[in-house]
Symmetry: C2
Subunit: 702 residues, 2 copies
Amino acid sequence: MSSARNQPKQPKRFLGRYSEPLPTNNLNEEEDDFPEFEPFEDDATPRGVAPSGGSLSVQNVDMLQQRNKPKHFTSEFDIENLVVRRGQEFMMQVTFNRPLADDDDFQVEFLIGSNPTASKGSLVVVTFGTRAAGPWPGQILEHQGESVILGITPTASAIVGKFRTYVAIVEGGGMQRTKRDTSTDLYLLFNAWCAEDAVFLADNSERSEYVLNEHGVIYRGSLGSVINRDWVYGQFEKGVLDACIYILDASRMPIYDRGDIIKIVRKGSAMINSQDDSGVLVGNWSEDYSMGQSPTSWTGSVRILLQYANTGVPISYAQCWVYAGVFNTFLRALGIPSRVVTTFNSAHDNTGNLKTDLIFKEDGTPDERNTRDSIWNYHCWNEVWIARQDLPAGFGGWQVVDATPQETSDGLFRCGPSSVKAIKEGLLCHQYDAGFVFAEVNSDLVFHKRDRYGTLTPYRVETDHIGLAVYTKALSGSGHVDVISNYKYPEGSAQDKATMARAEEYGCERDHSETPDSQLTVSVKAEPVLLGQDVSLQVNFTNRGQTVRTIKAHLAGSIVFYTGVTSSRFKDHNFTVTVPGEQSESWDQVMGPGHGTRSCDQVMGPGHGTRSWDQEYSPHLGSQVSLSFIVTGKSDDDSVTAIKVLNLLTPKLTVKLHGDYQVQHMMYVNVSFTNPFSFALENVYLAMEGPGMISYRTRYYR
Amino acid sequence: MSSARNQPKQPKRFLGRYSEPLPTNNLNEEEDDFPEFEPFEDDATPRGVAPSGGSLSVQNVDMLQQRNKPKHFTSEFDIENLVVRRGQEFMMQVTFNRPLADDDDFQVEFLIGSNPTASKGSLVVVTFGTRAAGPWPGQILEHQGESVILGITPTASAIVGKFRTYVAIVEGGGMQRTKRDTSTDLYLLFNAWCAEDAVFLADNSERSEYVLNEHGVIYRGSLGSVINRDWVYGQFEKGVLDACIYILDASRMPIYDRGDIIKIVRKGSAMINSQDDSGVLVGNWSEDYSMGQSPTSWTGSVRILLQYANTGVPISYAQCWVYAGVFNTFLRALGIPSRVVTTFNSAHDNTGNLKTDLIFKEDGTPDERNTRDSIWNYHCWNEVWIARQDLPAGFGGWQVVDATPQETSDGLFRCGPSSVKAIKEGLLCHQYDAGFVFAEVNSDLVFHKRDRYGTLTPYRVETDHIGLAVYTKALSGSGHVDVISNYKYPEGSAQDKATMARAEEYGCERDHSETPDSQLTVSVKAEPVLLGQDVSLQVNFTNRGQTVRTIKAHLAGSIVFYTGVTSSRFKDHNFTVTVPGEQSESWDQVMGPGHGTRSCDQVMGPGHGTRSWDQEYSPHLGSQVSLSFIVTGKSDDDSVTAIKVLNLLTPKLTVKLHGDYQVQHMMYVNVSFTNPFSFALENVYLAMEGPGMISYRTRYYR
């Protein structure tokens, strides 16, 4: 009987399912990769037979950081180890105890994760002669006495992460290996400079911006009152690359999958938010940030990533621009070309169809109880540049990925990659989440009247309200470019109609109700003003008919979150306007910031008391400063509606450097700020950060 | 100042993000849908003005179960409420206090989930005259004195689940509603009989099998020794439909999404396993089931589903056929045509490419440490019949969904729906998880030799080992049909090559190594035998060359789990075979079940002791009874390998009914069983179940 002779050692929980647990840990892998001397199982050579030049041994291994980094565009990384990009040769210097002889045989081995294996690419053997080895070509570039300079080219689809490096000499009936030396660990990244890599980006200035730039601008607010927010991505800062690899480890992503750009970015979009997987950032759209830090107080990604990697605990709190900013750091650190974009008037459609349904009561007031959809004033996501080998030809290039948790994206808190080109063509069959992203930029706004029986009747469809613009930072300077034409054909064009028809074929539902062709139109205008100043509202009714019309109108004014959700209604006002045939008529309102200097009805101030400003302002204004005005008008059977969202501008900080500024010398910075209010500010925090200069710090002013 | 006048009531955690929490609960929704009398906000009618026939009120609402159920094929449901299928008219009878007059106005309302809303389809208003209402058409079919018979047709895309029913009379300046009455609750299902429904299946015998049959057969074992396992789906059993809706509630799936067949089946594949989401079944591929019930001991789905719905705690334990069986019940209960299929030799490829890498040491023994992939002897999944509106035309029909947790499926424990037609064509760009399923049936088997330097050299590629057959129960009787031709073109055909090329275009990696063209071949044959009988193994070497060859051969015999993972190696045997030119040579082995009646070297018994059989059998045989034999042969530079997996057959139970069997009378069942061993069995459990007759029970024999 010979049963159970060779029973393999197996952790109990994997028994029968896997032969070994799938490796999912890069940073904290096992350290005992090899015995220092590994005898050949099959070897018949007597031990101790040395090659002709005498026994060979390794004296030193040098990863040649100064020579490699400029060629791999990795000089900026503040890290002790060599960082290179895949698909491109790097050099290393091995110094032996004597010059190499012809019959010497050695190899270099790169290992990642536990139990590395050649068939899965987590163990790579590189040889420098005729002996067969793994997929990374090796060559001896130079002999320098006892040293050789080796050239090694990782494949363009290699696993990305931190490899352990060994040099092994074949001698004495076995393999004599170098000891584990963490200083020779090698970081391998995606390579936008390599034509064979799925992230290849041909243009040099684009690579400089989308892979190498540590600074960015994220756009917020609403179109017409856009707010620029500087953001420090800091992908080269000390600890950040390790933190990004830690995120993949924390997600338990198999090491074997980490060369696949699609899987990496999809996993990233899941892991940057804390839902499902205890990922990086906890969302909070309330006004209560007392258990963490307010989303508006972050100045960059570095502190968030380092704290997450140090504690393993999700960081509080984020809203969309924080998710997008941190995700961008993750992507650029790993070498993936990426940018943050901001879509203005982004539909958040809970059923993922092409209708954003706004419901009004019969008297013209917004029916908030029955309105489920919302329009985000703006929404930030990321674009990554990927050749999509998993899709038919033509869908490579920019891809949407979104880390902000939006519950309807395939039932999980992640989104993308979704080809921008597929979205433009309405080809929603192309994974991932194309239908969801398409709705965000293309939904129709459907205005319904809800009658007393609970029945909805659509009375107006606006096809040009959603997806007004998509801003991203320009390649040069800090200005923006609008890339909406990547996402959409011009509204109403033949191509636009074909796109919408295709989207419907793929299951996106649209509203095709016949809505009455009204002779009345209404518009609302308001110029952006600074917080604390008067808001002027101009409502304009136009009568295209022949006869005079008397319009019963209603103005609803609300403070809204940037997600379009109402925080508080502060104004409900009925008025009547008479418009002669073929004429227009305006109705104006001026609203001050409070303090009651005008008549009660004409003045709509932000209200009373907020933590960060003072006791006079509305608790509902909070850190989000959007006002939404909805005007409805009714005359006979005609109903018209207009919506205007206004972002109050916040005062700007002015930063001035003074004195001489020299390397290694103190520099003086003067920060000034004009209080727009007629009262004094208390409890003010100033936050500052300069990558490579000063780390994040705050200062408190009473 | 008018601030904060209309501040909406909102749970704090949703503030700013949603106007209200997304409803995700069907079974335990709020009960206070409406006030019993809801005055019109805008009404000017003086209260108490009755219609011409006097005040109208509802006396009774009857859902007409006996008339509706046969037409909707729902008579079998053991449930107190009416169950109907969408896209098809059903009837209900409303009895008033008097016959209806012409100016009476009433409506029927169907509600699902909390805060139902018309724009999302969770509140449906049905009217019976000219007044506009929701999307479900209504008509009065019959007037019978004070009663009317109403005909109502839910749309073919309506939300599926349990609706609350109200009748409202418009009178007295408001709506007078019936009270909540759970007996009028209505279950709405998918409808395979309705051409507009995405699950439409034209053939009547297919609908009878795939929607209505409560019994099935699941195939296990290996091709040549297939084991039929009866399975009781029991989708109509008491409590099962509610349990299936409970699963969707437990997943927190938004009510609004529950009319979408794609989302429902994808969510189901995630929820039937416990990973990620505390779903129904805990997997266990070890041999230790002491914390639950052994996967082989289940006879059907009912007990599992009821226990999960009652406790909310995942049930222990499952392997693939249990997942597939329970998932099938879930699908059929909701009205989705579905079947369980079994794929023989299914690749489980940890990197999702088209290579299943088997690694051998230089001496020919399997290198289990470095082999990461495994071939499941069989793997069960489900097919659902869906028109895929989300894909281009041509990919409707059967779709793979798989609830067995396989970690590489898009990083999550769910899989599909994946179009079988897309898999056949290699069009892996079509969501969901097509590449993963494609690899399961199409991987190439690549045999590598691992040299002493750790380098792998492929020496043989077998393209016809994986995906041998796909069995499912035939429409009539309990026999099987092989539907492999739905998944694959014939091996080696021009279409097969085109399919493989397409799959590679979409990123599936194949091995194109030049492997030596060997003049030697080897095969292993063994006839299936009953557990406890002798196993005869015949190894055959063929020499196609001219010269005599001496082959150094190795036989490795292992007990393997059905997942292909080795439990224990019980045999490592070296032998030499000499084969003359252009001839074949056989080498035979006979292995008995133990007890040492033959010479030690010739006898490979299953070993010593197992819980469920007796003290003599191997602890490693356990509940899975597969033997794997691998023969490698080496002659000069030629290497050949053959693999044979043999499933030992377990003894059959014979069930005989005797006496007369009449409705409402006791029935006698005789169960017999022949012990194949030469020793007595102890601690035997017999499990039995008969849907609609007897619920699951076990009997213990010492």
